[in-house]
Symmetry: C2
Subunit: 345 residues, 2 copies
Amino acid sequence: MSVARIAVVAGDGIGPEVIDQARKVLDAVLPGVEATEYDLGAARYHRTGEVLPDSVLDELRGHDAILLGAVGDPTVPPGVLERGLLLKLRFAFDQYVNLRPSRLFPGVVSPLAGVKPGEIDMIVVREGTEGLYAGAGGGLHRGTPAEIATEESLNTRHGVERVIRDAFARATRRPRRKVTLVHKTNVLTHAGSLWARTFDAVAAEHPDVATEYQHVDAAAMFLVTQPQRYDVIVTDNLFGDILTDIAAAVTGGIGMAASGCINPERVHPSMFEPVHGSAPDIAGKGVADPAAAVLSVSLLLDHLGHADAAHRVAEAVAAELAGRTSGTPLRTAEVGDRLAAGAVG
Amino acid sequence: MSVARIAVVAGDGIGPEVIDQARKVLDAVLPGVEATEYDLGAARYHRTGEVLPDSVLDELRGHDAILLGAVGDPTVPPGVLERGLLLKLRFAFDQYVNLRPSRLFPGVVSPLAGVKPGEIDMIVVREGTEGLYAGAGGGLHRGTPAEIATEESLNTRHGVERVIRDAFARATRRPRRKVTLVHKTNVLTHAGSLWARTFDAVAAEHPDVATEYQHVDAAAMFLVTQPQRYDVIVTDNLFGDILTDIAAAVTGGIGMAASGCINPERVHPSMFEPVHGSAPDIAGKGVADPAAAVLSVSLLLDHLGHADAAHRVAEAVAAELAGRTSGTPLRTAEVGDRLAAGAVG
Ligand SMILES: CC(C)[C@H](C(=O)O)[C@@H](O)C(=O)O
Ligand SMILES: CC(C)[C@H](C(=O)O)[C@@H](O)C(=O)O
């Protein structure tokens, strides 16, 4: 029996290059992984018109986790791969915890003046299966002056409570034990009230966890002016989308940012992917940074119960970043080799 | 006849202090303004339970513009003053252009490393009367495990087109002539498509204006990593709320940020206010910075057709900020005196 069955979606652009390194590292720290490659993304869509055939969705279901590189290119109409592939997987596999750590590693330059490595270390627990991502929108009178379009944010106590519980559980495992709820309760009063009341109820069960609430606009500002203040942020799907890009920006850019779309109960496979896109401009040149893809492997290992291996992978990335000298060109495969060697010790 | 009839809502906390300075400056550059004070905000709400009586709304209607300090304090439940006063005015007076300039003034320290004064100079044209701010939400089964809550974003061609036209008109009056549309067309496909198609149609009428599109998460990131790239941003109500706080953060904080809720046709009064809140912690001490309130007066003057006076007020603020030495405590009234003197020349 294999130690884990991983579906690999390398995808488009730099996806295959960074995924090669991610697999190198995964194989090094967890020998015996059974990896199956799935051809999905812009290339397949252009070739066949298919985005995610039902048969593939069923096959993916049989895996312990999915490792994804990047999908998309500028010639695919907006929404096709996002709704048809990425969001389809998040919803079909009930990946309700969209986990995005942001840590300023030594050796990485923050765009913020005077912020020192180690000072920023937060995770954003973004809800992944509800809100404005539910696809509940429509329109009338398209192309006429009378046109209207709607988008609806759907929120359930079920969905809100489980992601808030997950955030508190993660906070209790971190030294600072603090959870910040971010919403916009002063304008989105219905959803805001549901989120706030649920947050308060779960907080009451965790007297050892410090809590605070911030409006999303204030949080967006504080992520720039005082990112050090955050430990765990829990927020809705769209706010999480925006805030995690700011968090990535202040910790060195999305080139370094990993993410997991997690079904914590492991009823369905979770998916791990770098936050960066397919970067067609640098694809095929062997210069893409695999750090984010490899950090995503660390999240994958942690999710599958290999906390030790997860830690070693993250530390290998930290060591790699600390050792980089600016100006030296980066070679994707060499970085992968170093990370694999570093992670096995 | 007075040169302009201005309704003044000083509001709560530091509101009255900064509004005193704003009025000083307004009177100095535009003698003969007829100002009427309206008591609205948290204090009135606590005293009388009233937020915005219809009779007051009717009186406000008779003015050329409204100058607002700040309303609110932590003891008012979320949404009461926001929905009942601020948003009520924006919607009742069809203030569809929520204008928020962000400029890094000489003398002001950006939290971003290596960004020099003058390099950041953008305006965000935020839609003010539609989207998720429409108040179209609801819920069921409150307080039970079956609870759901919804929030709906309502977008019309009418509303989207007029604000995009306003953004292009403003861009043609600026040296760089560039408009960036920010939305989330890959997920909010219905509203996103309406915004994108309308943007393209208006852009086609303005071949002299450069255009680009960005997803809101990418824009949030670029506001941190490359704020210099923006000239005019046009976006929806909620995205604008978030992006303008980031833009304020990178240009020195919301202490410096002015805003106008504008009805461009002047059918209804427009409202001008600093972006900062009532700051109860420093209220009454005479140390609040009136810069944002005075910059709001500059926007008010510009809106009422006094471009020259508007310019002089903005330059007076710029000179004041350039002359500040860090560490010297700020006295609200003295700053107001200097700004008034500076603006008359
Ligand atoms: C590609 C898109 C659907 C996606 C999102 O909005 O969630 C991306 O921005 C992300 O953050 O993973
Ligand atoms: C107070 C609140 C209603 C308001 C908004 O969300 O528009 C504020 O954040 C702003 O930006 O003016």
